[in-house]
Symmetry: D2
Subunit: 343 residues, 4 copies
């Protein structure tokens, strides 16, 4: 029997991507999708791509019956989920938050980067960071999962083998990451207009980006001590895709290719490419896969890792479904056997 | 038990799209993919998007064992299939040709537009034009199906209800069609380079395009007499997608919206949008659906039909799989329940 | 001695394009650029492309000293210019309005399409429609010029030779036009976000678009009687560029190529391509040129005209400068000798 | 009196960009453009953007009269210029090579990276590396200038102030660079097709790229000793533009903003942005400017420099014209006062 699923905030890109995936998930019954502003409207009227696949209407949050769901996904702006999660958990509903409300363990750090007080710090402590390749066991038994950010997913998966193996200087990590424009969300803003961001490339947030503390927390946990990281995100004219180019200084010799292949040998959604490869973002488009290649240019002591994901799938909705599969004991790849769309 | 499927010419866009669809088709066993130039190479080496989904290697055509397949798809340049089809048919293999070798019934017209003698005119006569919305019954029993061109699919589906109902002047049809660049194929050419075709828009082939006689043949069959058509294709900076804007002069009053809705009421892959709609190409991206809207601007006597498809799916590989489903008695939408990828 | 020039509304795309052109115009001194919201801010802070070329700050409209300018350009939303133009004219300032306030001669038609009462119908009557290829003499002596819309420029220049020569049926004209996204302006809106309009193509406004009455007025003036037009605009993933594909039914034989070449023989900014050509939008990118080709496909009685412009130059700011040159007796191409940027 | 200018290899992107710039250069008379394959063809037939601006025909190299020119630009593939330069120099013609034939001083290094013997190593020694911001004096008196590569221009201009001031560890430099697709040239290749490189992002050449030794040579000269550099180029879906993100470890305190502003205070084509800025590639589109911003994220010891150029202008044809201006005593910015095209 299918589980009942609710989505809070179904009008953004992570929301519509969740719908794309859940509409074909064999263990799921889509029960409610909320939107205060668009309550009553057919979801497929806003997203004609879903005609014939999703026949729900957007529901008002209070009338949506979320407490009758087995699991609720939050695809909302930061600061919304933390208002509603305590009541849902109390009602026995599991929660997967695709926003950042539960990603950082340190309340003070969270409040510094997100600029507001946290509404439920106790749940912050309980929440499991939903990167299955690191926290699979805890996710299985979690009531609430904080789904990782898009950049943090690509960056952490690329650095983890090196840090776990202790072969790089963890003080001077550099993550130069490039994201497609859908990462900025479906909000009316000037800088993400087609005529602004097409045929254009820029860095942003160099002084500090909210994904910096998230990555630092994750990699410090892996390292067992505070790591040092410079993180520079860029906006690139793709719809979907993140390409993280990662740099570290090798502190001891090792077979890098074997290291990566072994670390991810049993991971369904991490694909280590043959030595010498350069993964393309389109090779994972619309799929839940992260593809990784590792290089040691000119035989020097700098290791370069290339890591690509689809920011809306492995970087958001797909990873959320992967987490749901773990939380409910489904096959981890159920509903996620997506062949990337190329070209 | 799954049918054995072969693909001739697996290195182009229709080839890789066939692989994307067939890799997840529950009734299909992929048996062979041929490529003279790349024999021995892993398919997933050329198309890393298929890693984990397709583990075949490209096979030399003569060693591929195509005659042991139940069906062979030709995803080759024009003029190849007609050389090999007679032997395959004789061996009891069904054939679906995604190129143009069997699309035109009149041998002389074919030879004029394709600039070569036809290798098997008798099979030209036998071949069924694979537009299921028109020829479903014949396709079911066909040995060889000529899969329609991308433009002809979008244009014919848009005009058919009007012509069948006899409500427009069939002498002065205009089809202004816009195609994404993947329609030009995966060939190294200057004019389809990114730096040439990005941020650029142009018409081409205005004096005459090979899809003109194909559309004319199809619509004339529907009309029961020779129709008159001006067809202007354009290249637009999309990867995938065709948008056909169709113009006709109404010769009698009629409820256009009802006409279209009724004509396609039972068609799984044709979606008539509500009155007043403007279909977007992305609303069908990576799916087998054609979405159509019909307008009568300013209450005048010009009817405007907007018809969109993904040129690689409903305009090529998806329609080919739909035809295969019909030819083998599978559910028509088997393997084709694809939710469009948006954004 | 240079003329003093003011711009009202310098924060949109037509505004920044005017600045690009006027910054290098040898007869112009840029005096003021107004923006209520950004008064005091350096123009080059908003548009770093202008660093080193424009050192003005945005001025508050009331303090800008517009009445001391020789000419003021309005690059404002519709409905703004008509509020301020009477006072400027009274002060002896010439005006070029890049919005639509003065484009339609019939006040009732204007009010129907723009949904507001007109603030100065008498000036509506006086204003000269600024298409130099039609109204050059009147523009020279005009106090106020209504700069044509982008679609109307491309469409009218393509149809004019045919209508003037009386060789087509002017009742059944069809203009299928495609515009880059900058045509929608620099406004924060969802549908023009990169992730919405990239890799996507759609028609819009099929039931009725504001440029329809403008084109109809212009071509009816040329024809000497009411013409009949179906106008379908489309949004295409370009930053800049309009491609109009025009269809008409020939009513008498004529040498179409000679007709176009002769009509535009002395026009600096209209380039008739050799027979058989297909103009590309990028061939006019960032320049004030309209390129046109004329076809008669398959020798039938349908004439097809292809007309391309850069919507921000010949379709807006460039044509405005061309009008200014005429109004002040400068060489018509002064400041407009721009080589298109390709690739 | 204008100088006579020849271009060898006018059919690629650097060639057509040279034509765009030289066509409006007041001191230049375009004398000859050679192309073996297209001799006799109007340049404007291949590049309609040049209609009305360039009326030359492509000339056969042997008949072009290059030896009568004052200066000849080579916009050819690597390995061509070195065959012809000795004779031109002997004839008293100055040469600017936009390819790589004369960029590396060490013949052995050149031969290793370019895979062929060098045809004139003595001239290799004489050639001046044409980065005016470093070698202005030598360029003025040079007979032959090796125009820098696109990546090397953006990377060197970003690192130079830091290395000259000795404030970073020059052993561990990292240059993460992103280029638009025009950088790959106007060659028919699969990987730069629109359908391959649009909506896609990838690194390439991580094991070793030909611009690595060029950058290393330039920065080592500045440092006065061998520097250590990791260089990772990426292909991004822009037509034009390079964005270099540069990382270094600070070894002593300094006012980074002042350092950069002072270094480039008198450079017309290097624009240091205000502290906290993020330059966009489009802010230099179609212009000869390099814009740079410098950051010290989170107050750590990693300095991040962002450097953008138009790869076809400051990264190729524009810098070549700048070099020509120096070699002939014209104003350095003559013909290069280009306002960037935005949007």
């Amino acid at each position: 029997m299918a589980i009942r699923v609710g989505i809070v905030g179904g009008t953004g890109y992570t929301g519509v991507e969740l719908l794309r995936l859940l509409a074909r998930h064999p263990e799921v019954e889509l029960k409610a999708i909320t939107s205060r502003g668009d309550a009553g409207k057919l979801v497929s009227e806003m997203f004609p791509s879903l005609r014939g696949h999703v026949d729900l209407r957007f529901a008002d949050p209070v009338e949506a019956g979320l407490e009758d769901c087995h699991v609720v996904f939050f695809a909302t702006p930061n600061g919304i989920a933390m208002q509603q999660v305590p009541a849902l958990l109390a009602a026995g509903v599991k929660v997967i938050d695709l926003a950042a409300d539960f990603r950082l363990k340190d309340e003070a750090v969270w409040e510094k980067w997100y600029g507001m007080p946290h509404a439920c710090p106790d749940i912050l402590a309980e929440a499991v960071y939903g990167l299955p390749e690191v926290n699979r066991a805890q996710i299985r038994s979690a009531r609430i999962v904080a789904n990782p950010g898009c950049y943090p997913t690509a960056v952490q998966l690329g650095f983890i083998p090196l840090i776990e193996a202790g072969v790089i200087d963890s003080e001077g990590l550099i993550a130069d990451a490039k994201s497609g424009v859908s990462g900025a969300g479906r909000k009316a803003e000037v800088h993400t207009l087609f005529a602004e961001s097409s045929d254009n490339f820029k860095a942003y947030g160099v002084p500090g980006h909210r994904h910096l503390p998230e990555i630092r927390q994750g990699l410090s946990n892996v390292a067992g001590r505070e790591i040092g990281l410079t993180f520079v995100p860029h906006l690139t004219p793709l719809i979907r895709g993140i390409h993280a180019t990662l740099y570290g200084r090798l502190t001891k010799g090792c077979d890098l290719q074997a290291l990566f292949e072994e670390r991810y040998a049993y991971e369904r959604f991490v694909d280590v490419l043959p030595a010498g490869s350069h993964p393309e973002t389109r090779s994972v488009r619309a799929s839940n896969t992260c593809r990784i290649a590792v290089h040691r240019p000119q035989g020097g002591d700098t290791v370069v890792v290339l890591s690509v994901i689809d920011n809306l799938v492995k970087g958001a909705a797909g990873q959320a479904v992967q987490n749901m599969n773990l939380m409910f004991g489904f096959d981890e790849s159920c509903g996620l056997e997506l062949v990337p769309v190329l070209p």
